[in-house]
Amino acid sequence: MPSLKTLRNRINSVKSTQKITSAMKMVAAAKLRRAQAQAEASRPYAFRMGEMLAALAASERVNPNANPLLVGRAQVRTHLLVAVTADRGLAGAFNSNIAKYVRQQVKALEAQGKQVKLFTLGRKGNDALRRDMGGKIVGTKNFVGRKSIAFTDAEEVAQEIVRGFQDGEYDQVTLVYNHFHSVMTQRVTEQGLIPASASPVNDNETEHNYEVEPDDGTLLDRLLPRNLAVQIYAALLENNAGFYASQMTAMDSATRNAGEMIKKLTLNYNRARQANITKELIEIISGAEAV
């Protein structure tokens, strides 16, 4: 039976933990709103770019000299996985879900006889994967201490990835990130970066009827790296929004758990207190009777 003092101390420490988690929950909720707004604002650009690319890609698929960024390489020996995670933890399984998925994918790809390289975006993913797959990590970037993510950040990452692809370090690139489905659910999602996964055009036109300036090839040379940056940017923003949502949910349940814990401890504390009083009364009474 713990003493009254230790119980009191425990109740106090759980109470202060609860204060922290509920404050974190509120901060995450406020940041989530901002992150969602930012993700929302970036959608029109990504949408139009996807449209343009889809229109151009249809005719380019049959071109034997098409840009490898669009159609990929004939032989895929090395695969690059870009793992997008958050820079901070305390968000439930948000980061470990990505790490788990990446590990599975690495195993699956290696079973197919392919080489795998990793690029980690975000500190937590790098920390988690460095331990057992440190040798595979070819690049890493995080945004620790940054208020918001700018497009130029995504552009830098895209440039690095394109450079590696053109130097032949890898033949296929896939992005793994948490898709912000709703505040309660974030889904680990895989998206092809190279070759570009141009969503099929909605209308039934397979041949685009656009005039193109300067010409298809030159335009695609400019458009494809740009599109890569846009997709990475979108993933970073989704990841950001998902992170805050996940943190909010995690902190919410932590606050609730702390409340239950306090209730249980208070009950124990009161029982112990009453038991003490009863014991003392019995001692006094039996003492008085003995006289």
């Binding site: 930012q38 029109p44 650009y45 139009r48 343009m52 497009f151 656009y210 005039e211 300036e213 335009l219």
Partner: protein, 140 residues
């Protein structure tokens, strides 16, 4: 009949409204877009996007490059980096131009992609300096 113009940067939708005409700085030369324009996709060089309403320029934006998608009724400008012409900073423009000149001088001509990037950057920086009106430069 107006044309629906959208100016979009990666970060946000900057402007979406109906205008009479847009003049875009295409890589192959400036192009004026009126309603009923043939479907066109083009890349943009650094320069000014002019918006015309009632035969007058009502808005001017500086873009450092990007793309435009034009259909009969719509014109979407996907800009890399965009500033209102009135908000251009002469000092920033001058320093960007100096940087771009240095980068251009240092670039390896054999490296096609790097050379293209450097020359694009130089063109954009020069266009930014040229887009600043004398009145704006004087205010400095």
């Amino acid at each position: 009949m107006p044309i629906a113009l959208e100016i979009i940067s990666p970060e946000k939708l900057l402007l979406a409204r109906e205008v009479d005409m847009v003049v875009l700085p295409g890589t192959e030369g400036d192009l004026g877009v009126l309603p009923g324009h043939a479907k066109l996709v083009t890349s943009l060089r650094g320069g000014l996007v002019d918006i015309y309403e009632n035969n007058q320029v009502t808005d001017r934006f500086f873009v450092s490059g990007g793309f435009a998608e034009i259909t009969e009724s719509r014109c979407a400008v996907l800009a890399d980096d965009i500033t209102r012409q009135a908000e251009l900073d002469p000092a920033l423009a001058a320093s960007l131009l100096d940087e771009a000149k240095v980068a251009y001088a240092a670039v390896d001509v054999a490296d096609h992609a790097a050379y293209l990037a450097a020359s694009d950057r130089l063109i954009a920086a020069q266009a930014m300096v040229d887009s600043i009106t004398p009145a704006q430069a004087d205010r400095l």
